[in-house]
């Protein structure tokens, strides 16, 4: 039984802006990275999962509860860490977290105890009695995480948890997320546009772009995928591309480079021979590691299609041409 189940989930704002477009995916417990550029629909998806935003069409269930009708029940068992600032500066961490624990349905004594525990868990000690206005960004992020954990949710939704943190603070936050997910067995969804972070903590990855599912697979599948051979020449890239296409390879010209798909067979000999016979000034041949970033680069559509095919969990519709990351309103 899936933790989260989305069926053809679509959200449009005012008929014009499409935040989510026919998203179909099942998500199982674990630490799940929800990755996409700004405006890809990550925050909208999290709000739909919380029952705060009504989907335009399609269905979504969280913990087997329908987001349309069981929002308050879902939220009792879900913790949410928003992307933006959400803490009153004149309250102390203890004040706000214990107050929010009550609002989450905990009895008064339990709220107090859980507040102390969870603030210790995120690494706030004596400073938890001071006003939040004097906290560093890192401490504020910890309080935000603590309030999401205080009622011991079954599912934790984190929206850009490392927002505004320096590298050290970012590593500490990610370590906290990882511990929370692995050692306490809590299901976690981490939305982020920073792919390096996703690699560090997640076991499973859901990539969305322009409101559509790009891919959904265990993290290993994303990284191990063989990738692209980039053949960079000073001139004659078009001629090289024609030649390689004639040899039966899937290629795309990218400026001075020719990108060759190497998912089937090993085209190195063909490339070497083609470059030699055409007498092109070769700069370099490199195998681009198929890291997560490649998902959002201007990669050949054929490669995306090849990458999507084996998963079997692709959304219906035409293949997505992985558009260059366009800045947009992250609804």
């Amino acid at each position: 039984m899936a933790l989260i189940s989305l069926r053809n989930l679509t959200k449009r704002y005012g008929g014009a802006i499409t935040a989510l477009d026919g998203l179909t995916v099942d998500i199982d417990p674990g630490i799940v990275g929800l990755v996409g550029s700004n405006g890809a629909g990550k925050s909208t998806l999290l709000k739909i999962l919380l029952g705060l935003v009504e989907p335009t069409s399609g269905d979504a269930t969280v913990l087997d509860l329908d987001v349309r009708t069981r929002g308050t029940d879902i939220r009792q068992f879900v913790g949410y860490m928003p992307e933006h600032d959400c803490l009153p500066p004149d309250a102390s961490a203890t004040d706000i977290v214990s107050h929010l624990a009550l609002i989450s349905g905990l009895p008064r004594t339990a709220a107090r105890e859980r507040t102390a525990e969870v603030l210790r868990h995120v690494g706030l000690y004596e400073e938890r009695y001071r006003a939040i206005g004097g906290y560093s960004t890192g401490m504020k992020q910890r309080v935000k995480l603590a309030q999401a954990l205080v009622h011991d949710p079954r599912l934790l939704l984190l929206d850009e948890p490392t927002n505004g943190l320096d590298p050290a603070g970012r590593d500490e936050m990610l370590e906290l997320v990882r511990r929370t997910g692995t050692e306490f067995g809590m299901a976690v969804i981490v939305a982020s546009h920073l792919l390096g972070e996703i690699e560090a903590v997640c076991t499973y990855l859901v990539a969305i772009e322009g409101g559509r599912l790009l891919r959904s697979a265990p993290l290993g599948d994303f990284i191990e995928q063989t990738g692209t051979l980039a053949v960079e020449v000073d001139e004659g890239s078009t001629a090289l591309a024609e030649r390689l296409t004639a040899d039966g390879l899937a290629v795309v010209v990218d400026g001075r480079a020719v990108l060759v798909a190497i998912s089937d067979g090993r085209p190195y000999d063909l490339v070497r021979d083609a470059v030699a016979e055409l007498g092109l000034p070769l700069v370099r041949i490199e195998q681009r590691r198929h890291r997560l970033e490649d998902l959002f680069r201007d990669v050949p559509p054929t490669e995306i299609a090849a990458a999507r095919a084996p998963t079997g969990e692709v959304a219906p519709g035409p293949p997505v041409s992985a558009a260059p990351t366009a800045p947009g309103d992250d609804r």
């Binding site: 705060l52 928003p82 933006h84 004149d90 989450s104 969870v118 009622h151 370590e175 903590v201």
Partner: protein, 318 residues
């Protein structure tokens, strides 16, 4: 599954300068336990938010500065009652207690209008504390992500504020009652004399708290900026009076008097006179409006302001 050690090392992401790979999180090792206790759900959430709002209105649970305005204004609201009880004590010593008690200018029926300005100032100062803070600092996102609905949030906050106003309206009346009864030579007789006033006092206090509180919260719901909300609340409670007064001054006493129904404080003067059966004291009221007009205006104000506030929070973006 990401193995714990690799994740720890790889957590630097793009950076390859792996420093000491010691466990960065080991200091957090103690303490996380699962919670197996009861989850009391929506009703508990609403109740908690109600009491939090009530306390916050008086600055309780907040810093010292947040308490200054409520303490001063509550003190001012109590002052007439304290003064009259003090005077009653003196009068009782001179043996004219009952005569003074019956002719004192500050009585159950006059108390509400005598402190109405203070209550309005209290609304202007404290209503923005509840709704403004939550909007200004984005706290709404945290509330709405919990086991309550948006309308629950709005109603619990309004109810907490109205309850706070009710305390301010009733506390001086209780003081007045205790003073009159305990200083009377015939305590049981005094209780019997004053008991009929309890109903009107309660009704007027509830009406007044709900109308002034509901309207103040409706204004406060629309801006995260404290100064705007305070100015808006004061404007709402004074401008209708000024407009009605101007129309009256221009000689249109009928229209002017009807316009007074747009002024919350004048409406409350009207319901006060109906409940206590006393004539309207204000110079404004040139004609007698039907009783039902005041009551209808008050109820419309209460229901309308609450509906507007609930609607506002059902649409607000978080």
């Amino acid at each position: 599954m990401t193995d714990a050690t690799t994740a720890g090392v790889a957590s630097s992401g793009v950076s390859t300068t792996a420093g000491p790979t010691g466990p960065t999180g080991s200091i957090y090792d103690i303490g996380y336990r699962r919670y197996e206790g009861p989850r009391l759900g929506r009703a508990h959430a609403i109740r908690s938010l109600f009491f939090h709002s009530l306390r916050s209105t008086f600055g309780i649970g907040r810093g010292g500065r947040a308490k200054i305005a409520p303490i001063i204004l509550v003190g001012l609201a109590l002052l007439p009652a304290i003064a009259i009880v003090g005077a009653l004590t003196m009068a009782a010593q001179f043996g004219v207690g009952s005569r003074f008690a019956n002719n004192a200018p500050i009585r159950y029926d006059t108390y509400f209008s005598s402190i109405s300005t203070i209550v309005v100032l209290f609304c202007a100062a404290q209503a923005p504390e509840l709704f403004g803070r939550d909007q200004r600092y984005g706290v709404l996102a945290l509330y709405f992500a919990r086991a309550l609905r948006r309308s629950d949030y709005a109603l619990a906050r309004i109810a907490g504020f109205v309850a706070a106003l009710l305390l301010i309206e009733l506390a001086p009346q209780v003081l007045l009652f205790l003073g009159r009864v305990l200083l009377s030579p015939d305590i049981l007789g005094a209780v019997g004399d004053d008991l009929p006033s309890v109903g009107p006092v309660l009704a007027q206090a509830i009406l007044s708290a709900a109308l002034l509180g509901g309207l103040s919260m409706a204004v406060a719901a629309f801006t995260p900026r404290r100064a705007y909300a305070t100015a808006g609340i004061i404007a709402l409670f004074t401008i209708p009076n000024i407009v009605a007064g101007t129309v009256l001054g221009l000689g249109s006493s009928v229209i002017g008097t009807w316009l007074l129904l747009l002024s919350p404080t004048s409406v409350l003067d009207g319901t006060n006179s109906i409940l206590f059966g006393t004539p309207l004291g204000s110079d404004f009221f040139f004609i007698d409006l039907p009783n039902v007009a005041y009551v209808a205006a008050a109820l419309a104000g209460v229901v309308g302001s609450i509906a507007i506030t609930v609607r506002r929070f059902s649409r607000i973006a978080t």
